[in-house]
């Protein structure tokens, strides 16, 4: 079976434009071989080359005193003290999860875990950010079940707890769900490994599972939109094997405790091709591969297939020459494949042999730094005019605000997500101090007194209405969530999910979102140390809403000093930090009750945001506060109800702002935190707020078994809890 001739159709099928192909011809000075065409196509795919996003991502701040490794490696690294670093990153697996939810989500977890342990860090936690379509569609239910089971199936088996995340629903995801997974690991600061080849003559070693025909062209698939009618390309489903990955994790960490290793990288998208090329690129060397040595699952695989396979649970590493036997012994011990498949060479090129012949020889630079990079045209979308206006007159005030509160609490986006996270082992590793369901998760770092607080956030509706402010709000909220546990935000990773970059309106959204994130990070002093871009999230030309997912990692010096969960003491004063304005734009309430997605998202004043965060953190650090809870989707009404769920203790509250009652209860003004504090400490907290310049009002007291917001709402806590606890099952899963 010979290679197909290089035709126009074949070039197109590889997602390469005429111009790009012309560049390949010029670079090689000849026609590429079939294998070379495959290599160019995956390396120049949007997924691997970031060709539409690179020029924009540069605008993100990526340095800071804690940063040990910024973007450009498999994951970002920040210093967390005591000689340790946190290694973290987020990845999307949107397209594969839409096609086969279980395996797509499972292999997504597998991929991000490898990104973390490839750097020498033992993963200690995952968080998942999920977006599904209309809950009324049977397919949504099927996808939710499959994705959640897939994340659970992989993460649980690996023994990495999934400690938090988000899960929401909107019809814009009917044809493109989002599955973004964040992972963090911890390593000694002086034992961080990089994806770098070095040392001419050093062996290039393949470890893990055998290579099969799975996922060939996964990277190009992630760079194309789906066509109407079909449920996506059918040839690329990869099946995950978490058991093998667990062995791979242990074997890699064992290897990393020796001094055999020079560089290592997982084989993710574009498999052997991207791992070898990227390692060579970072080390400014070349790599020569002999494909006859690659462990195969099926006989007769062509060099093209071997180079492009996306079989899971594989890593490529460069070891010191002469230490091959030690490396082999470790991987054999763990029953894994291990084979020397090549050498580091001085000439900066990738040379691939198969059956004795050279089947590809390409310079490294044009595949990495020199890959195409586009400043694609951007244009402000027309819809923005239409959705900007929101006239208060259009929004009728509900007659029964208590009933509205119950309805909101039970709506899919606000309801309890226990059905999801109870399928995740969130305690394995015995580090999880604050379990899923809080503003952020909290993990202790063994061997120290420290804790890591983790939160992921993103509000697609805000980003739809105003991409820049929506993105900034996401940064603010994720940071605020971490602060609600008393932690200091240290760094950010993101996952940017968008439609086709070839559409100028999408490109505009993207550029605005990057600016919004950059602004938020600058204002809060946070570096973006890693991230991921997922374009082409559209079906039949209908794109998803622009959806950046922001993850913030925060550090708590003393993990035992974290806040309580919910109201816990009868009689405690309830304080509100920040201020409630008449802002209904983009709220969950407008959408759920009035079917409206309009108006501008809430304003964001950075001075106020910082003052609120500072006050909260300082008050927690001094032990003045029992719980602190961020006020976000669903507004103050929902935030207060959420505070009652733990203990069942209610509250009586009086709100005095002279604004529309629905805005008062359900508006989503930014920069607000609800606190309850022991009576004796209320004055000190108020004084702290004054010093910081944060508005702080005593709005009521904890107590009773009802949530009373004077003149507006008077409902039993048990009714709130019931609506909230059963909402997901009732409205999404229909059980």
């Amino acid at each position: 079976m010979g290679d197909p001739p290089i035709t126009k159709a074949l070039i197109e099928a590889h997602g390469l434009t005429g111009e790009e192909y012309a560049r390949i011809l010029a670079l090689l000075g000849r026609e590429p071989t079939y294998t070379e065409l495959g290599i160019f196509s995956v390396m120049w795919s949007e997924h691997c080359s970031y060709k539409s996003s690179r020029v924009h991502l540069r605008r993100l701040p990526s340095s800071g005193p804690h940063v040990v490794q910024g973007p450009g490696e498999n994951a970002g690294v920040v210093d967390i003290g005591d000689g340790l670093v946190a290694v973290f990153k987020m990845e999307s697996h949107n397209h594969p999860s839409f096609i086969e939810p279980y395996q797509g989500a499972a292999t997504g977890v597998g991929g991000i875990l490898r990104d973390i342990f490839t750097m020498g860090a033992r993963p200690i936690a995952c968080l998942d950010s999920l977006r599904f379509g209309d809950p009324a569609l049977p397919r949504t239910r099927y996808l939710v079940r499959g994705v959640v089971a897939g994340i659970a199936g992989y993460g649980n088996c690996m023994g990495i707890p999934t400690v938090g995340g988000e899960c929401s629903f909107h019809e814009c995801y009917n044809g493109n769900i989002l599955v973004n997974v964040f992972c963090v690991g911890v390593a000694p600061r002086d034992r961080v490994f990089l994806g770098r080849a070095a040392g001419v003559g050093n062996p290039v070693i393949y470890v893990g599972s055998r290579t099969g025909r799975d996922g060939i062209h996964g990277a190009t698939m992630a760079s194309e939109e789906f066509d109407a009618g079909e449920e996506g390309p059918r040839t690329t489903v990869q099946v995950g094997d978490p058991f093998t990955e667990k062995l791979l994790l242990e074997a890699c960490l064992e290897l990393m405790s020796t001094d055999c290793l020079v560089g290592i990288q997982d084989m993710g998208a574009a498999g052997l091709t991207s791992s070898s090329v990227e390692m060579a690129g970072r080390g400014s060397v070349g790599v020569e591969l002999d494909l006859d040595q690659v462990p195969l699952r099926e006989p007769g695989m062509s060099p093209y297939e071997i180079m492009l396979s996306e079989s899971q649970e594989r890593m490529l590493l460069v070891a010191r020459a002469g230490r091959e036997a030690e490396v082999e012994a470790i991987f054999r011990k763990w029953d894994l494949q291990v084979a020397v498949v090549g050498r580091v060479i001085a000439e900066p090129l990738l040379r691939v042999r198969h059956g004795g012949a050279v089947v590809a020889e390409v310079a490294i630079d044009p595949l990495t730094r020199g890959a195409p990079s586009y400043e694609r045209p951007a244009a402000r979308p027309a819809y923005l005019e239409r959705v900007a206006r929101l006239s208060a007159a259009e929004v009728a005030l509900p007659g029964d605000l208590g009933g509205t509160l119950l309805m909101l609490l039970g709506s899919p986006n606000l309801a309890d997500k226990r059905w999801v996270f109870r399928q995740y082992d969130h305690m394995v590793g015995t580090n999880t101090v604050v379990l899923p369901g809080a503003d952020a998760a909290l993990l202790r770092v063994k061997g120290t007194r420290r804790g890591l607080a983790l939160a992921v956030d993103g509000n697609h509706r805000f980003c739809y209405l105003d991409p820049r402010r929506g993105a900034a709000l996401a940064v603010a909220e994720a940071a605020r969530n971490v602060v609600c546990l008393g932690a200091k935000p240290l760094g950010v990773t993101d996952c940017l999910n968008f439609g086709s970059p070839e559409n100028p309106e999408i490109m505009w959204q993207f550029s605005e979102v990057v600016d919004g994130i950059a602004e938020g990070c600058r204002e809060l002093g946070l570096p973006v140390v890693s991230g991921n871009v997922s374009f082409y999230n559209e079906t039949s030309g209908v794109p998803i809403y622009p959806t950046p997912t922001i993850a913030v990692l925060g550090l708590l010096e003393d993990v035992s000093g974290h806040a309580a969960r919910g109201f816990c003491q009868e009689g405690d004063p309830v304080l509100l930090l920040g201020e409630t304005r008449e802002e209904l734009g983009g709220s969950e309430y407008l959408k759920a009750v009035h079917g409206l997605e309009a108006g501008g998202p809430p304003r964001l004043a950075w001075d106020l945001e910082r003052a609120v965060q500072q006050t909260c953190r300082e008050a927690l650090a001094r032990g003045l506060v029992r719980p602190a809870h961020d006020c976000a989707e669903g507004g103050l009404g929902v935030a207060l109800a959420e505070c009652t769920f733990g203990s069942g203790l209610g509250a009586r509250v009086r709100l005095t702002e002279g604004i529309r009652p629905d805005a008062l209860l359900f508006g989503e003004s930014a920069s607000r935190i609800v606190l309850s504090v022991p009576e004796a400490h209320a004055g000190e907290v108020e004084a702290l707020a004054r010093v910081q310049g944060a508005p702080c009002q005593a709005i009521g007291r904890v107590g009773g078994d009802r949530l009373v917001i004077e003149g507006l709402v008077d409902v039993p806590v048990s009714a709130c809890r019931e609506a909230w606890a059963r909402g997901l099952e009732r409205q999404v899963l229909h059980v």
Partner: protein, 83 residues
């Protein structure tokens, strides 16, 4: 009454982690003669009274929709009329 047996197996070329683990376990147990294992599902369904042809076509539907995952699995159905 109709009894149907449905056999679901991983598609050729698709990774079968279970099969791989069972193969290694058998070999470690001394069954070196075993060269390959694929692990799938076996389902027995009891259906009410209905013509065989209809049963077959209904079963094929059930497999496509629920019993098998056609993206990664093959299936086979046997139908038998009982009593």
């Amino acid at each position: 009454m109709v009894i149907a047996r449905v056999y679901v197996t991983p598609k050729k070329g698709v990774l079968d982690p279970q099969g791989k683990a069972v193969l290694q376990a058998l070999q470690a147990l001394g069954y070196g003669e075993v060269e390959e294992v694929r692990v799938g599902k076996f389902m027995e369904l009891r259906l009410g009274e209905l013509p065989e042809a209809e049963a077959r076509s209904r079963l094929a539907e059930m497999c496509e929709k629920l019993l098998a995952n056609p993206l990664i699995e093959d299936y086979r159905v046997e139908v038998e009329r009982a009593r």
